[in-house]
């Protein structure tokens, strides 16, 4: 037993426990408990609670070698048990608080008046939460149950570590996919109902979540597929792709692309109105993300006031087309679109010019200031006669083409899809064009770029203008889709949202924008419980991405190459203590993971 590192166990165990207690006390467990993943057995809230123990067990057992089975398992078990302690402390606090209050009031009568309800202090420490934590039992038996299950999950985390590595990943994939399918069961049910009879669906899904037996089957099937793929399929696939001639590879890629395109065309028919609405919102964010990606990802200018251009596009569309009191031109949607984009570009250039000489973080703060100025102005009485102040612009007509009116989300889907495809095409062509390479050169080093003959002013303003154009387009479609706009839809949160999605997707990567928007905008819309904790998760995700995977979920190949080369070229950056630098051997070992093959 001497091989067990108890300090490490206590450290990881308590951290995991504090995380579990935190997600409980801020109300996430209770809110997420409303969503069952496996009917009657496992809810999303419980997954959240228990994943801390399982992850802790997995991480702590990493310290042990895989062959040492018993020490690994003991480590996992202990971590799981320890992780339960802070949560149990929470239960004790909630259950014992009235008595504590009474005892204190006995000792000092003036304390009688102090709020005696724990929820006056911690608003989410509710009886319902305690019921979830104790599995609906008495506090004592419930706590013991919790202790036992957290311990088992810690053990489970360690088991994943102990099994041969060729099963480790498939197991994780199996668990994650089962959880995902369970989590999205409501959505899947909505889609499948159109094709499958509801009696058959009842076999699969419960009232909420997926039924236990199908869940088990799904888990086994996905794991098996992953194992087979890992053992055979992947190599065979790579060999076939490797053997194919460039022309064949190109054809395969084209085929894949056209399949995706076909799928995009028929998507609204598969999804139904509600989900199409969600996809529409994701699309608007993809459009903005593509624009911000040019500014931040290509040109390296961190813009936190990006929402300003979205607002300008929306307001331009609003006052140009509105049939209400504020509209003065009465233009059609199609005539207003280029004007809205043009005004946004102009604003981009006007706001971009003063900040030309600023770099990095200063630029971020100034653009944030611009965004706030625009928002405050939009709300203020100053511009009220023109843009409506807090009441906003109303009666914006729906777009119309040859007698066909865009009313339903399905109609707007095609409009947004066209906008996204256009923006993606422009961004994709620009990236490898002279301008794109100028942007990237500027991002790497402005002085060197200027010395190479790049006109910094022109290049930067083009980046700001291009980015603003897409945001303006997105805002204009948004205005027409909603029919009315209010200044409170244009706050800083939108900028942060767009920034988060391009960072999570991968800075500078076009598919990354789509992935980021699906994860950060689509998921919270599908899972209503997420909405309240959306920005908490964004914050945590931004930190986690920067710590663990700064290149994003779908990194651009150039970026990936650069990250690797940077490491090679400058092993020690400024501010590094030369004595605490990581040994070179570790860096060498990490390199193949990030290298482009």
């Amino acid at each position: 037993m001497s091989e067990i590192d108890f300090r490490n166990i206590v450290r990881i165990g308590l951290i995991a426990g504090l995380v579990a207690a935190s997600v409980s006390v801020i109300g996430m467990v209770e809110t997420f408990d409303a969503r069952d993943i496996i009917t009657g057995i496992l809810s999303l809230g419980q997954v959240l609670l228990f994943s801390a123990a399982a992850l802790g067990g997995y991480l702590a057992s990493q310290e042990q070698e895989e062959s040492k089975i018993v020490p690994s398992l003991v480590t996992g078990l202990l971590v799981g048990l320890l992780a339960a302690l802070p949560v149990i402390a929470l239960i004790v606090l909630q259950v014992g608080f009235p008595e504590l209050h009474a005892a204190l009031a006995n000792a000092a009568p003036s304390l009688e008046a102090v709020p005696s309800d724990i929820r006056d202090y911690l608003v989410n420490l509710s009886p319902t939460l305690i019921e979830i934590l104790t599995f609906g039992r008495e506090p004592l038996t419930g706590s013991l149950l919790l202790l036992g299950s957290m311990g088992l999950l810690g053990l489970g985390g360690a088991i994943v570590h102990v099994v041969p590595s060729r099963f480790e990943r498939p197991l994780t994939i199996g668990v994650l996919w089962t959880l995902l399918i369970g989590m999205l069961s409501e959505v899947l049910l909505g889609i499948l109902r159109q094709f499958v009879s509801s009696a058959n669906l009842r076999l699969l899904f419960g009232t909420r979540g997926i039924r236990p037996i199908p869940a088990l089957i799904i888990f086994v099937v996905i794991t098996a597929i992953a194992v087979v793929w890992r053992l055979r399929g992947r190599r065979a696939w790579q060999e076939r792709m490797g053997a194919a001639s460039p022309a064949q590879q190109k054809r395969a890629r084209l085929g894949g692309l056209s399949l995706v395109f076909l799928l995009l065309l028929v998507l609204p028919f598969i999804l139904g109105t509600y989900l199409t609405e969600v996809v529409d919102n994701v699309g608007l964010f993809i459009l903005m993300g593509l624009g911000l990606n040019i500014v931040v990802g290509f040109a390296g200018l961190l813009d936190l006031g990006y929402v300003a251009f979205y607002a300008i596009g929306a307001y331009t569309m609003g006052i140009l087309t509105s049939t209400g009191a504020l509209g003065f031109a009465g233009l059609s949607f199609w005539a207003a679109i280029p004007i809205a984009m043009g005004v946004a570009v102009l604003a981009g250039i006007l706001l971009g010019t003063p900040v030309l000489r600023m770099r990095g973080d200063y630029l971020a703060i100034v653009t944030l200031g611009f965004g706030e100025i625009i928002r405050v102005l939009a709300t203020s009485d100053l511009l009220k006669p023109y843009i409506g102040g807090a009441q906003g612009v109303l009666n914006i007509p729906k777009p119309e083409i040859a007698g066909f009116r865009f009313v339903q989300p399905e109609h707007f889907y095609y409009l947004i899809l066209a906008g996204c495809l256009f923006a993606a095409f422009v961004a994709w062509r620009l990236r490898d064009a002279r301008l794109g390479r100028q942007w990237m050169a500027m991002r790497e080093d402005e002085d060197v770029a200027e010395a190479m003959g790049i006109h910094l002013v022109k290049t930067k303003l083009l980046a700001f203008g291009m980015g603003a154009a897409f945001a303006g387009l997105s805002g204009a479609i948004f205005a027409a889709k909603l029919g009315s706009i209010f200044p409170h839809s244009f706050n800083l949160i939108i900028s942060i949202n767009v920034l988060s999605l391009i960072i999570v997707g991968g800075i500078g990567s076009l598919p990354g924008v789509v992935v980021g928007a699906l994860v950060l905008v689509g998921m919270p819309e599908l899972l209503r419980e997420f909405a309240e904790y959306r920005f908490l998760m964004y914050g945590a995700l931004l930190i986690a991405m920067m710590l663990a995977k700064p290149e994003g979920l779908w990194p651009s190949p150039i970026r990936r190459r650069e990250l690797v080369e940077e490491e090679e070229a400058f092993p020690s950056e400024e501010g590094l203590n030369p004595f605490t630098e990581e040994p070179m051997a570790e860096q060498m070992a990490e390199r193949p993971n990030t290298a482009v093959k």
């Binding site: 990095g360 973080d361 611009f370 405050v376 914050g539 945590a540 700064p550 203590n577």
Partner: protein
Amino acid sequence: MPRSLKELDYVGLYLWLFRAAVIIIVLWGTVSKIFLGVGNDYASSDWIDFFIAGLSQGSLYALIALGYTLVYGVLFMINFAHGEFFMSGTMTSTIFIAIPLATSGFLEEFPFLSLLVIILASMTVSVFIALLTERIAYRPLRRAPRLVPLITAIGASFFWQYFFRGLYGSQVVPFPTITALEGYWPILGVAILKTRVVVMVASVIMLVGLYIFVMRTKTGKAIRAVAEDKDVAALMGVDVDRTVAITFAVGAAMAGAAGILYGLLFRQTHFFMGFIPGIKAFTAAVLGGIGSIPGAALGGLFLGLFESVGPPLFLEGLGIPGSHQLKDVISFTMLVLVLIFRPQGIIGERLSEKKA
């Protein structure tokens, strides 16, 4: 004009026009207010009131700005989450200390002792949150490209905001009133709200204390050494990690105290309360010259004054309706103007390319 007109390119011209426009607007507004009496009619006591309100608000900005300045001086990083350190301490201390003290009558009996306890509790929580943030989100990224810690700082800011929203709820928590601090004190013939006097006095004490700490103590010397050059400081035997952590802690302690003073002034706390004061305090730090402690103090006072006197003075003079709504526009415009035209601030040294 620094260059002859011929050399002036479009960008330079645009910036000159921008500058001229701002000066003309401010002058025009002021003149028409003072000589033509546009807008509301204020007695001279009203102006003194605006002035004092500006000073007390400004001393809060100064206290928060210290955190930005210290961290920027040491790490060249904008600690976007600083406003959340301010909020976390204030809310926690209000809910767990101030309200129980008020309901039990202790606050009534020993107002100043209670206030001290409340402030200390707030400082402790702020320091704890700051150290946690530094350890998890900033320290591992100290040698990453400069945008990376800025992005984690934005992440940390949102994380803490919504974390504390989950903890304490999204409603406004009123800060208890202290009867001993209600009403006015006559000072030099002017009646000044007692809370404002307390805020200003407390701020001055803390600013001076911090200045002495940084300039006279050994730890302060270590902070200045690390700000100058981390590698050399490390070679001289300074524990860089520890010093950076201390810098964060000191800044957060100031913010925590400022939060309680904010509660005294505005009588309310809220999970979102840190955000706008945070950005404004950053503006104050830039205005005074980031990296300089007296600069932060001066910048804070200036910003508070502009915000308080500006809307009634030149915005009303321009005939703008609802001018008080635009006070945030004033501070953000000042931030933009300072960064464009005088990035070194009022008393700061010109930042080298590396830092700017």
